[in-house]
């Protein structure tokens, strides 16, 4: 297992252990904060363990990225950023002209959704293509 995957798994396991310890020792005290902290630590622990073990299962000792994938990732982020910027501009104008109104939560949700979808689609397309022209 690569060193960084070991670190991820170790951090996850540590967070998980702290959460379990807190749960055991503070079980008598009914505080909402203990519950919140243990929930947070459990989530973080599981996420880090999944990250370490999952990446190890996918990549093993192979490099996760190289010069080609780095180039693709950089362009993907640029595409995602530009599309999101245009979307925010359009939403702003639609709101200003009273054509389409959204709540802050809806606008943020849509922005995040578009940003992630564009990044995933662009990365898939560019990886199939092989290189950036």
């Amino acid at each position: 297992m690569k060193k960084e995957y070991k670190y991820y798994t170790g951090i996850g396991a540590a967070a998980f252990l702290v959460a379990i310890t807190l749960q055991i020792f503070w079980s008598g005290i009914d505080t909402i904060w203990v519950s919140r902290i243990t929930s947070f630590l459990t989530t973080v622990g599981i996420a880090f363990i999944a990250l370490g073990v999952g990446r190890h299962m996918i990549y093993k000792e192979k490099p996760e990225e190289d010069e080609r994938t780095k180039k693709i990732s950089a362009l993907t982020l640029s595409y995602s950023w530009i599309v999101t910027l245009v979307l925010v501009g359009v939403l702003l104008l639609l709101d200003k002209w009273d054509i389409f109104k959204m709540t802050v939560m809806q606008a943020l949700g849509l922005t995040m959704f578009v940003m992630i979808v564009v990044a995933i689609v662009a990365e898939l397309y560019l990886k199939r293509k092989g290189d950036i022209e």
Partner: protein, 64 residues
């Protein structure tokens, strides 16, 4: 841009995975390189040429 990577790789009995490992890239990058769909950096071209015991000029065929 064409190249002789596949030919030389076969000569030295290397798999795409072996070559990728030796030059520190992912196997997919070697696949696209062989197909001529990826233009490598000068460093990668040099590393691949070195592993295949040739020069960059002999490995890659530049067309006008």
């Amino acid at each position: 841009m064409k190249n002789r990577i596949k030919e030389l790789r076969a000569r030295y009995n290397l798999t795409q995975e072996d070559l990728a490992k030796k030059v520190g890239v992912r196997r997919e990058t070697i696949v696209f390189l062989e197909k001529g769909k990826y233009n490598p950096s000068l460093k990668l071209a040099h590393d691949v040429a070195k592993v295949l015991k040739t020069t960059v000029n002999e490995l890659f065929i530049f067309e006008d």
